[in-house]
């Protein structure tokens, strides 16, 4: 069974890859089919993930672990929202209300907390690690903030220069990081393509 899954995975990957490089008909057609299948499976995996989420919360409720109340609230709200969505549709104002009144504010609040968290982390950075890179990190962050900060007196002098110079280095560094990440992603894909890494249970 493991051999079959590995073979199928390898074949699928090669077909899709070659289909990108060689848009010949069989390969293109197969690529589209496999891609469609992957999309369907991915969509269906969302349901599996949701089911897994429910199972974990139910286990927590059953064993009465800490935070099981919130797990129960999650399960109840999930079932309710799912039912309403099936009945009324996603465009229903009630569903829109749920999004506008619950999801967006909650995540926005988390985002605001993240802002406070980042400020707190920046404050304690020098307490945790005192080195040149940490000081430079904080210095560049403060410069950027100064450059983009509106003032009652208008933009600060040299804000554009700061943005350009600092931006140049930051963008260049980011580009390098992204290239490295891309290379890593490439090699990781190749390992999966060759069957060296089999995250689908083949190892």
């Amino acid at each position: 069974m493991r051999v079959f899954t590995a073979a199928f995975a390898i074949a699928s990957g090669l077909i899709v890859l070659l289909g990108y490089f060689f848009p010949i008909q069989p390969l293109s057609q197969l690529r589209l089919i496999l891609t469609d299948w992957a999309i369907v499976i991915a969509g269906f995996s969302v349901l599996i993930g949701i089911f897994n989420l429910i199972a974990v919360q139910m286990e927590k409720i059953r064993t009465r672990q800490k935070g099981s109340v919130y797990g129960a609230l999650l399960v109840v709200s999930l079932i309710f929202t799912f039912g309403i969505g099936l009945l009324l549709g996603p465009e229903d104002p009630f569903m829109r209300l749920a999004v506008d009144a619950v999801i967006v504010p909650a995540e926005a609040a988390l985002m605001a907390i993240l802002a406070v968290t980042l400020i707190y982390a920046s404050i304690r950075l020098l307490r945790r690690r005192v080195d040149l890179m940490s000081v430079l990190f904080l210095l560049v962050a403060v410069l950027f903030l100064l450059a983009i900060m509106p003032t009652p007196f208008g933009p600060i002098p040299g804000d554009q220069l700061i943005l350009d110079v600092a931006g140049m280095f930051s963008r260049g560094g980011a580009r390098g990081l992204l290239i490295g990440i891309a290379l890593g992603t490439l090699l990781t894909g190749l390992r999966v393509l060759f069957g060296i890494d089999r995250p689908y249970g083949g190892n």
Partner: protein
């Protein structure tokens, strides 16, 4: 019984044990003599009482044999002449320097022997005791009677004065010499009593063979004396102890000057008995009661029966010689007085306590001075005063002395000799009576008296040494190592505590076979099974045990305080932001100026929107999360507002995230696109805008949509992407923009109609910098990035919709607060961190 606690195992043991019966650890290590340790010098004389009985017996046998030999040799010439043996041959006066002939060999081993010159000058003993009887000068009789002590005996007690005092004995002898005396035959073995003095200071002279003249002498008086002595003899006193043992020549005893003895008419037994009862007393031996009773030693009772009856008759009186009070002739002195012997030694006589029975009585001798004394001394007495050829048994103790004393160097008192066999710690327990009891002969006090006490011994030693006495002999180390240790000997059960054997060859004896206590060293040493662990090892084991025990112990929950510095800081930051920013929003302040100059990217986007045809289809891709909806709405509002306001396009919304499709309405509502006029642009769903929903598959889905929108999204309604005049991407992360850029670039290469299709991006502040290269490369026609671009774009767009402008002041203040907090907090953290590290460094 007291218990001794073992220092090793901690168990109690009887006090009589020297080693622990459980682990064989010495209980009294300080008292043990360990291997390798050098023995301590001890005076053998002090160890005498603590010797085991078997050793004492052996030693006694040795002495006896020595005495026998000496007596045999001494008796040989005398036997030939068939003369009365010189009974007082052993009582050689040390004061008689002229007549005393101490053999060199005897003098060398007899440290107690005093040089003749040191001792008080005593008259030369008569070589022939009986010679004095031939003298016509009778000694006054009354003199000795009146006095308690004969003069000759008193003189013997005080040696320096002996020469000066008149010896009554010599007078007696002179008187008696006028009378013929019967020869008295005394066998040599009968001289054992004389030789029972374990002191090298005693020298015996070979009893001078009685001359023919002596044979002719009338010695009936001697017989009478003998008879009287028999009657007065008290077996309990143990006199004549050494006689039965047949000891050889007795040790040298200062011989009394018999010439000074009051002469007695021997032919008159009765009167002689009365007159010569003092002689009986002289022959009586003082009985000493030693501290350690030596019941095994042959007592005088035992020794006496060994004598032949006739000889007993003849010689019993001799047993009493020297120990009786001269004044009381009728008396039968219970104890002898050998103090005259002490005088010969120049020492103080140890008075015997009354009532004590001594084994022998000291013999008093007369003043050892004057030629007349010499003439008055019978030959037999003279011979008795001669030193025996054989060394006394006590001289053997010199072997046990550590130091070798030169002969005649420093004669020591006989008590020193005795002390060689007496325990040092027990010296005080040995009195003169105890010493006398050990011997069966009439021993002078100075012979029988032990060196009791350190003071007395030291004083005696000092006196002796000053007089040239013998120094204690040092035992060889190997002998001393063999010697039983004092503490062991002390702990050995005493003779009295040991039971008397009731059967067998040892019947009646006591202490022959020493009792081995339980747990003695004779038992095989048991190996302790107890693990010998050091303290460090025990501490390590205890620590390991605690660690193992702590594994099962519940650990207390670590709970942190509700109010800590970290939480306070977070609350403070949050509170400041909420209060300040909330107030500004509530107040709707718009004090912050806005620049009218648009960035290039924003200007390009604005120009691209303005160039779009009227009522065309525009694809709007919503690819941001609800968390950034506020920013994205603010950023994308001016662009969409200008697009709708200028071209009235048909908007098609597509989302590549599940939540994106739910954000379309919110976006249109907040941007007032779908608001009815006059407030909004009155766009309606299904007419003016369409929401295609979620596009799955990520990059593949995008690729598929780009290639065939209908196949990817059937509700799209278009077959080709070129149906859209523009594509507007609303994203909060660069990845999404990159995907669309990449896919569109590849598709543009295939479909040239897509070459004029602009791609406009409205990105959050975090995604804008990463998409800037695409803008620079013209892959993105225009981009509005962040609130700063949006507020300027909005300003140019107649401040429509106004979302960005509403956030601008709060945004500014918020940034200012963040900068201040980061700067001040970082500096404070730096300072506290340095201080904390310094404190840690100081603590070490």
């Amino acid at each position: 019984m007291a218990d001794i606690r073992c220092p090793s195992c901690g168990k109690n043991n009887p006090d009589f044990l020297d080693v622990c019966q459980f682990c064989q650890t010495p209980l009294k290590p300080e008292s043990m003599l360990h291997i390798g340790e050098s023995p301590v010098k001890k005076n053998t004389g002090e160890l005498e009482p603590i010797l085991p009985q078997w050793l004492k017996d052996v030693r006694q046998q040795g002495r006896d044999s020595a005495k026998e030999d000496a007596a045999e040799e001494a008796a040989k010439p005398k036997v030939q002449k068939n003369e009365a043996p010189d009974l007082l041959a052993g009582l050689a006066s040390q004061a008689r320097a002229e007549d005393d002939e101490i053999p060199d060999w005897l003098a060398s081993i007899n440290p107690a022997t005093k040089p003749k010159s040191v001792s008080a000058p005593t008259p030369e003993p008569e070589k022939d005791f009986f010679a004095q009887f031939n003298k016509s000068e009778p000694a006054p009789v009354n003199e000795p009677v009146q006095e308690d002590v004969p003069s000759w005996m008193s003189d013997a007690r005080e040696t320096p004065q002996a020469a000066e005092e008149k010896d009554e004995l010599s007078e007696w002898f002179m008187k008696a010499s006028a009378e013929p005396s019967a020869p008295v035959e005394i066998e040599s073995n009968e001289m054992g009593w004389m030789g029972d003095v374990d002191s090298p200071s005693f020298t015996f002279k070979e009893p001078a063979a009685p001359t023919e003249e002596k044979e002719d002498e009338d010695l009936s008086w001697l017989h009478s004396l003998e008879d009287s002595s028999k009657q007065s003899f008290d077996p309990s006193t143990g006199s004549g102890q050494g006689v039965a043992q047949g000891k050889p020549s007795p040790p040298s005893i200062p011989q009394p000057d018999l010439n000074l003895m009051p002469s007695a008419d021997l032919s008159q037994p009765s009167s002689q008995q009365e007159d010569l009862s003092w002689l009986n007393e002289l022959g009586g031996l003082e009985t000493f009661t030693p501290s350690q009773p030596a019941p095994a030693q042959p007592t005088a009772q035992e020794s006496i029966p060994a004598q032949p009856p006739a000889q007993k008759d003849d010689l019993d009186w001799l047993n009493n010689l020297g120990g009786q009070d001269v004044t009381s002739f009728e008396e039968k002195p219970a104890q002898g007085d050998l103090s005259w012997l002490n005088n010969l030694e120049g020492q103080q006589i140890v008075e015997e306590p009354p009532g004590q029975v001594s084994l022998y009585s000291p013999r008093r001798t007369g003043p050892l001075d004057g030629k007349s004394n010499e003439d008055s001394m019978p030959d037999w007495l003279k011979s008795a005063t001669e030193e025996p050829s054989m060394p006394p048994p006590g001289a053997l103790s010199e072997w046990f002395r550590e130091t070798d004393q030169p002969p005649l160097s420093k004669p020591q008192p006989a008590s020193d000799e005795l002390n060689a066999f007496a325990p040092a710690s027990d010296s005080a327990s040995l009195s003169s009576q105890d010493v006398d009891s050990l011997f069966s002969v009439d021993m002078p006090d100075w012979v029988s008296r032990p060196e009791s006490g350190t003071e007395e011994s030291s004083s005696q030693k000092a006196d002796v040494q000053s007089d040239g006495s013998l120094a204690p002999v040092d035992l060889p180390s190997w002998v001393q190592a063999m010697r039983p240790v004092e503490s062991v000997i002390e702990e050995t059960p005493s003779m009295e505590s040991q039971p008397t054997e009731k059967e067998g060859p040892l019947a009646g004896l006591r202490g022959v076979i020493p009792i081995a206590p339980i747990g003695s060293s004779r038992r095989p040493k048991a190996i302790s099974l107890k693990l010998q662990a050091s303290e460090e090892q025990q501490a390590g084991a205890a620590l390991l045990e605690r660690i193992l025990a702590s594994e099962t112990n519940p650990r207390p929950l670590v709970t942190s305080a509700f109010v800590i510095s970290q939480r306070v800081l977070r609350w403070a930051i949050s509170g400041l932001f909420i209060v300040v920013l909330g107030a500004m929003i509530f107040l709707r302040t718009q004090n912050m100026p806005v620049s009218a100059a648009l960035p290039n990217d924003v200007s390009a986007a604005s120009n691209a929107v303005a160039s779009l045809p009227q009522n065309s289809a525009v694809l709007v891709i919503i690819d941001y999360e609800p968390a950034l909806a506020g920013e994205m709405e603010a950023v994308s509002g001016p662009l969409l507002d200008q697009l709708v306001l200028l071209t009235h396009p048909q908007l098609t919304f597509l989302s590549t995230s599940p939540n994106g499709s739910a954000l379309v309405e919110r976006l249109l509502t907040n941007t007032k696109i779908n608001q009815p006029a006059p407030n909004g642009l009155d766009y309606r769903a299904g007419q003016n805008y369409f929401n295609l929903g979620f596009l799955p598959g990520g990059s593949s889905g995008v690729l598929e949509f780009v290639q065939s929108p209908t196949s990817a999204m059937p509700s799209a309604g278009v077959n080709n992407l070129s149906a859209y005049v523009a594509i507007i991407l609303l994203t909060d992360h660069a990845e999404s923009g990159r995907v669309w850029v990449e896919q569109l670039s590849s598709q543009k290469q295939i479909d040239p109609s897509l070459s004029n299709q602009p791609l406009l991006v409205s990105a959050s502040a975090q995604a804008g910098p990463l998409l800037q290269p695409y803008v620079s490369s013209r892959q993105i026609a225009g981009m509005v990035s962040g609130l700063s671009d949006a507020v300027r774009y909005e300003f140019v767009n107649n401040s429509r919709p106004g979302i960005a402008r509403a956030y601008w002041d709060s945004f500014g203040v918020g940034l200012l607060m963040a900068i201040a907090m980061i700067t001040i907090g970082s500096l404070w953290s730096l300072f506290t961190g340095i201080r904390a590290r310094r404190a840690e460094a100081e603590l070490g």
